[in-house]
């Protein structure tokens, strides 16, 4: 409950900082996945194929919209990811080019390098952002030991993760990762959806990403603008 309040405080702070408050909606602004039959697909091959096309180190420019209930704010994000070493850096600017914050972290910790003066960021602000970056960009390939459930139009890999269970859903014409889901018990805690993969230098980058935190009822929409290789 305390964490929920902190999350609310965090995002209300952002709404205040960036000055965007409005009525929200939760439509998907990306092309929906065209599900096709996976009857002839070998799940292990799908996993290997996806792993080989996933970039391990990359820098991207994207826009990020955060939505919590009726509040929305947007920013431009510059993100540097090393998914193998589990390192990240992120700088967020407002649309006029003013730096809002800069964070650097790894799988376990995060350091706030800069936070816009005049904005009183709540104590867990850096942690909340870092958690979302890890959910989106880290651990995108299921373990070889993951249990496989082959359904009519999708393949689900299921494995234990932290104190819960992680599901990876592969689907579509190219059988790519379209969703990651994290459960605690029977309750779905959060989901990340990946849309419209784009290829650059033989690697695949999702043009659209949506993170839905079901427990805290917020949503992040990330639109890829540029890949810097």
């Amino acid at each position: 409950m305390a964490k929920t309040k902190k999350s609310i405080a965090l995002y209300l702070l952002f709404a205040g900082l960036v000055g965007l408050c409005s009525t929200g909606c939760s439509s998907v602004p990306f092309k929906k996945v065209q599900y096709v039959s996976v009857s002839k697909v070998q799940p292990a091959a799908i996993r290997e194929q996806f792993a080989s096309t996933l970039p391990r180190k990359f820098k991207i420019v994207s826009t990020i919209v955060f939505q919590y209930r009726r509040h929305k704010f947007s920013a431009i994000g510059y993100t540097d990811i090393d998914s193998l070493q589990k390192l990240f850096k992120i700088v967020c600017l407002n649309h006029a080019g003013i730096k809002l914050f800069e964070l650097a972290g790894n799988d376990n910790s995060v350091e706030c390098k800069f936070a816009f003066e005049g904005a009183s960021f709540p104590g867990n602000f850096a942690q909340a952002v870092a958690d979302d970056i890890r959910r989106i960009y880290f651990d995108s390939i299921p373990d070889p030991e993951a249990k496989i459930y082959k359904k009519k139009k999708k393949i689900v890999f299921r494995q234990p993760s932290e104190t819960g269970v992680m599901e990876y859903i592969f689907a579509g014409a190219d059988n790519l990762l379209v969703e990651k889901r994290y459960y605690k018990g029977w309750r779905r805690i959060w989901s990340v959806f990946y849309y419209e993969y784009r290829r650059k230098n033989g690697k695949l980058y999702p043009s659209g990403i949506m993170l839905r935190h079901h427990k805290y009822n917020y949503q992040l929409t990330v639109r890829l603008k540029e890949i810097q290789t």
């Binding site: 000055g19 408050c21 420019v61 826009t63 431009i76 006029a96 800069e102 800069f114 003066e117």
Partner: protein, 213 residues
């Protein structure tokens, strides 16, 4: 008194007078610029903002337009890498961006963080720099075109953030050509103004935050 002594005294005197002239000239330059800037009633200009972040190799480029109409209208429209509009009328800030696609309004009075952002933008874009003498050491780097360097004084808020700010004016000194901000974090921002038009009528669409075509 030998010749060398006379030359040394003359040299010392000229250095003293040169120093006095320099100090005088900073104030003179600021006053002269203020007079010229005060003649501006409307401004419309393209801008290119080049941001160098210490943690990234490549520069980040933002492009767009700025409009100003005295006494109380200001508009900032970013066109790249995303489309965004901000219009300030009195105390009210209206914003739109292509991702959220809704016009949103906020009062600056209720939003101190936004007040700081807008305050910083106005400070450097105004060209009225005499009041900044308390906060910054100002030096004249060049006269043709006029180029000023602002170094924050110790014990000011800016001292912890900024190494220096350099501003280059247009040759006619009627407006700024570029602003360069060098920050303590290793980041820097260069804001260049192109196709600047002064005291020409501004289309009403400039003050709208809805998509501009």
């Amino acid at each position: 008194m030998n010749k060398i002594t006379i030359i040394l005294i003359a040299l010392c005197m000229s250095l003293v007078s040169l120093n006095a002239y320099t100090e005088q000239s900073v104030e003179d330059v600021l006053s002269r610029l203020e007079v010229k800037m005060s003649e501006i009633k409307t401004l419309q200009t393209d801008f290119v903002q080049e941001k160098k972040l210490a943690i990234f190799d490549r520069e980040i480029i933002l492009k767009g337009k700025i409009f100003l109409k005295k006494p109380d209208l200001f508009a900032w429209h970013t066109e790249e890498p995303t489309r965004y509009s901000m219009v300030i009328r009195d105390d009210i800030i209206s914003q739109w961006d292509e991702d959220i696609d809704q016009v949103q309004k906020v009062s600056m009075k209720d939003n101190p963080a936004f007040q700081t952002v807008v305050g910083q933008m106005r400070k450097w874009l105004s060209g009225i720099y005499m009041p900044l003498l308390e906060e910054y050491n100002i030096t004249v780097l060049g006269q043709n075109p006029v180029s000023l360097k602002f170094t924050p004084r110790e014990n000011t808020m800016a001292y912890n953030i900024i190494n220096y700010v350099r501003i280059v004016f247009r040759e006619d000194e009627r407006y700024i050509h570029e602003i360069y901000i060098n920050e303590k974090t290793g980041d820097s921002t260069l804001l260049r103004f192109n196709d600047t038009m002064l005291n020409t009528p501004i289309d009403d669409a400039a003050w709208e935050v809805k998509p501009r075509g």
